[in-house]
């Protein structure tokens, strides 16, 4: 019997912040798909950050003497119609995709979480108004809303970020609100209310630590959608402006010459696809490692 008591204590002592981080990391490493996902995402981040060091050429410099080159020599993946190095453009393209996507996702998740917290805390008509607003935003197709916003405000990266925030905050709000609603009726919240604590204290100290896992998973899921959405916008000609190196834009520019320089289209597609698959697998793995099981374990 003593043996089992010891085990129970050991299991329980593995809580707290750092132990739980290592526990989650270990559970991710145990799953092959999740590991692959994280490796892909980290690889993409490294490639984008280190692009200036590893890219063989300037991504935006035209070279009339070397247009539509096949792979070889100074151009490992060939060049496009303006003589720009495809490998360099693809590597730099990750910077735009990742920066815009992560910034907009982070903003959308942050804003959505705060709105969700307020809705769950006040309930009643505040919650009703927020939920109905969210419903109506979600009802508009994402790409359509973004096209309108970009058409009105121009297509700089800050507008894209804003557009993503407008489009995706609603979805985040809905998911996080559900999680927060689950925590609100718990007695420790009632205790805080009875002490006369304010909304800021209750949300930041009592509610958010308990829904952090939901928020993290929501971030990873949304990020993969946003990467695809931002690239779609560029492909349609509403996103990044030429000559910005961007995957969607590259596909749009080079698709008519697919038979001549196939890598000019394929390279950005492969990069985009691997990033999205990586983010999806990572989000999945994260959800499984943090997700429902952990909540059950702690809250019964």
């Amino acid at each position: 019997m003593t043996a089992s008591t010891i085990v129970v204590e050991r299991l329980q002592s593995a809580r707290g912040f750092w132990p739980s981080v290592t526990r989650v990391a270990r559970s991710i490493l145990r799953s092959k798909p999740a590991t692959l996902g994280f490796v892909l995402v980290i690889l993409h981040i490294l490639l984008a950050v280190l692009a200036p060091l590893i890219a063989p050429g300037n991504p935006t410099q035209n070279n009339a003497a070397a247009i539509l080159q096949l792979p070889g020599g100074p151009y490992p993946l060939g060049t496009d119609t303006l003589g720009r190095d495809i490998l360099s453009r693809t590597l730099y393209g990750g910077q735009y995709a990742l920066a815009v996507s992560f910034a907009s996702t982070a903003l959308a998740v942050l804003l959505g979480t705060v709105i969700a917290g307020v809705a769950a805390f006040y309930g009643g008509w505040v919650d009703q108004v927020i939920t109905r607003l969210v419903d109506s935003v979600i009802a508009v197709p994402a790409i359509l809303a973004m096209l309108v916003l970009v058409t009105v405000f121009g297509s700089g990266p800050e507008v894209i970020v804003l557009a993503v925030v407008v489009v995706y905050t609603g979805g985040v709000t809905r998911v996080v609100r559900a999680a927060a609603m689950d925590v609100m009726p718990k007695d420790f919240i009632v205790a805080a209310r009875a002490r006369g604590e304010g909304v800021f204290y209750i949300l930041s100290r009592e509610v958010f630590p308990n829904i952090l896992d939901v928020v993290l998973v929501e971030f990873a899921m949304r990020a993969s959608w946003v990467v695809l959405l931002v690239s779609s916008l560029s492909f349609l000609g509403f996103g990044a402006n030429p000559p910005t190196p961007d995957w969607g834009l590259m596909v749009a520019e080079n698709r008519s010459l697919m038979a001549v320089v196939p890598l000019a289209t394929l390279a950005p597609i492969v990069f985009l696809a691997s990033l999205i698959v990586g983010l999806n697998l990572a989000a999945d793995g994260l959800a499984k490692s943090l997700g429902v099981d952990r909540m059950k374990e702690i809250l019964g």
Binding site: M1, A3, F188, A194, R195
Partner: protein, 639 residues
């Protein structure tokens, strides 16, 4: 026991070990369990939470939790080695031989299916009863009649949420009986129910057992229930059976200190005083070869404080959840008066839905009231909501919750939980460690998270959080009902000590009359939001009381009763809401007269402190002999 033929045994468990792997370590959930039960007998599985009794119940349904496995030993049910059965055979065995009545029938019934359909599912394999539509309906009604569900033919078309908790449990039992099982396993079948409902359900189960004669296994933490229902009993502690045998024998003369400790730590409605708590160290010593510890029967009797100042006075409180009054309806709480004095523990008693928690929430400022005056410390009027109350008032009223699991934030340490009120209310000269010491916890607990504490320890932290604000009034809402009896008495003693030492007034909300008897000074009995009786604890448990109080007292099931009383049919049916006129209890009252239905009952002053709200003259309110008889037998036992 003289058992020769294996076929006579409904259950034959031999040297069973159930284990799961935690990393590379094997953890035994059940260890070396051997149990036997003859056909037609009733076995009770008793023990504290985590003792393995529910795992054992699962085993008897040939089911294990995922990741658990049979490490050694065999389980024969009705002569069959059930863990050797696979796939189809196992399904057929379960469908025809065993059935489960779960603890919470409300959660076990499918909410989107009509009762009729759900019942039909469970006898689908029975060819004769499921042959035609008529046959199915006939069998369904027959089953519902068997468990005494009122209006059984109308029930088939209804959904689970249209029934009360007790009725849902009856339907759950009917479903379990549908396939004519040879073994019925009941997992805490009455734990979430009110006393009167519990008594009625147990009566039904007892009758069903006599009529149908199947073997039954009943899991319960309540020794009284086990004593009433079971012919045999197995006491579980930490995955082992410490004692097994005939119920009457074991409960009268336990040979293991654990059984003895469990029995002694149960408070009784017949005896005032807080029982001793279980001495785990002594039991461990016994298991390692020490002699049986001497039986500790000393009850601690609380002395009510005299003539102390009032900390809370409620006058004419009315709460209504309906914003617009409905015709025929009435407010949830009507005309409620209450006083709590410093150092006094006042119990607010009633069934679920009686408005006990509503009143606590009004006092805490979490629920608005329609009318009524609340006065704190004789001078300060309490504002309706927390937002309008000053810091000093918020500090003076503190709450302790029923469920220690959800009353502490799982992400924050014990220190965080306790120091927050200290800082918020500027309490000086008290550290988290000192606050923990006050509730009997070591200072090393400050850095722990709630998940690292046991149920009793969490409840102590919850109490420390409330006490550390130095309040004058504490609202304690069912604070011991989720705890094991062994821990319960230590929390009750803590409550008593805090009331005395800190001169605290406790408003103690509970449905458990035995706990009230052991710790309360004064009692207010609430029925559908109206006071029916109030008085000192000895008056409430004395020979004269309101018919509703009498019903509650008669429904309590305790070890050592003769268990002959039965609840009259319909007595457990609580109306959905209070009536617009007359006495709220009129629909269930055995002494009801015409005036009860039309006129609000007058207050009978049985003594200066004892008030009964009833039309019936006081002479007629003397109990039938039973309770006084019971106390007599009980006294013989203790002395």
């Amino acid at each position: 026991m003289s058992i020769t033929r294996n076929d006579d045994l409904a259950i034959d468990v031999k040297d069973l070990d159930i284990a799961y792997m935690s990393g590379k370590l094997r953890v035994n959930v059940l260890e070396n369990v051997s149990l036997q039960l003859r056909q037609g007998e009733v076995l009770g599985l008793v023990g504290e939470s985590g003792s393995g009794k529910s795992t054992m119940a699962g085993v008897l349904l040939a089911s294990l939790r995922t990741s658990s496995f049979v490490a050694s030993g065999t389980v024969h049910l009705d002569g069959m080695d059930v863990f050797k059965l696979k796939g189809r055979e196992l399904r057929e065995f379960r469908a025809s031989h065993v059935a489960l009545v779960p603890q919470n029938a409300g959660a076990a019934l499918t909410p989107t299916m009509r009762i009729g359909e759900q019942l039909e599912e469970s006898f689908r394999l029975d060819a004769t009863s499921s042959a035609t539509r008529d046959a199915r309906i006939r069998r369904s009604i027959e089953l519902l009649d068997l468990v005494r569900l009122p209006n059984s033919s109308g029930a088939l078309e209804k959904y689970p949420h249209q029934f009360s908790g007790g009725q849902q449990q009856r339907i759950g039992i009917a479903m379990a009986l549908a396939a004519r099982p040879k073994l019925l396993v009941l997992d805490e079948p009455t734990t979430g129910l009110d006393v009167v409902t519990q008594a009625a359900i147990l009566d039904t189960l007892k009758r069903l057992h006599q009529e149908l004669g199947m073997a039954m296994v009943m899991v319960s933490h309540d020794l009284g229930v086990i004593d009433k229902m079971c012919s045999r009993i197995a006491v579980f502690r930490r995955g082992r059976v410490v004692e097994e045998g005939e119920t009457s024998l074991i409960l009268r003369e336990p040979s293991h200190p654990y059984t003895q400790g469990l029995l002694d730590s149960v408070p009784r409605i017949t005896v005032p005083g807080i029982p001793p708590s279980l001495d785990d160290a002594a039991i461990d010593a016994f298991e390692h070869g020490a002699t049986m510890p001497p039986r500790e029967v000393s009850l601690y009797e609380r002395v009510a404080p005299e003539k102390t100042a009032s900390v809370l006075a409620i006058r004419g409180l009315t709460v209504d959840y309906d914003r617009k009054p409905k015709p025929g309806g009435a407010p949830t709480v009507l005309d409620f008066d209450l006083d709590v004095h410093a150092g006094e523990i006042v119990a607010l008693v009633g069934e679920s839905g009686s408005g006990k928690s509503t009143i606590a929430n009004v006092v805490a400022g979490l629920q608005r009231r329609q009318s009524g005056e609340l006065t704190l410390d004789t001078t300060t009027a309490l504002a309706p909501t927390v937002a309008h109350r000053s810091k000093a008032v918020r500090r003076a009223v503190q709450m302790i919750f029923q469920n220690a699991d959800t009353s502490l934030n799982p992400r924050r340490t014990v220190r965080d939980a306790i120091t927050r009120p200290l800082r918020l209310f500027n309490v000086r000269g008290l550290s988290a460690e000192e606050a923990l010491a006050e509730v009997g916890l070591p200072s090393g607990f400050t850095e722990r998270l709630p998940g690292q504490l046991s149920g009793g320890q969490r409840q102590r932290v919850g109490i420390a959080r409330a006490i550390s604000a130095r309040p004058s009034l504490v609202l304690a809402d069912e604070i011991v009902s989720a705890l094991d009896v062994s821990v319960q008495s230590s929390i009750l003693r803590l409550m008593d000590r805090l009331a005395r030492d800190n001169n605290l007034g406790f408003l103690f909300i509970t449905h458990d009359l035995a706990v009230v008897r052991s710790v309360a000074d004064r009692v207010v009995v609430l029925y559908l939001g109206r006071i029916v009786e109030e008085g000192t604890v000895s008056e409430i448990f004395g020979p004269v009381s309101h018919p509703y109080t009498s019903l509650l007292l008669a429904s309590v099931i305790e070890v050592g009763d003769d268990h002959s009383e039965t609840i009259a049919p319909g007595q457990d049916e609580v109306p959905a809401g209070p009536p617009a006129r007359g006495c709220p209890f009129a629909s269930r009252c055995p002494l009801v007269v015409e005036i009860c239905r039309t006129t609000k009952p007058p207050v009978i002053e049985a003594s200066s402190t004892h008030a009964i709200h009833c039309h019936v003259p006081v002479e007629k309110l003397r109990h039938s002999q039973t309770t006084s008889l019971r106390s007599a037998t009980r006294f013989q036992q203790t002395s």
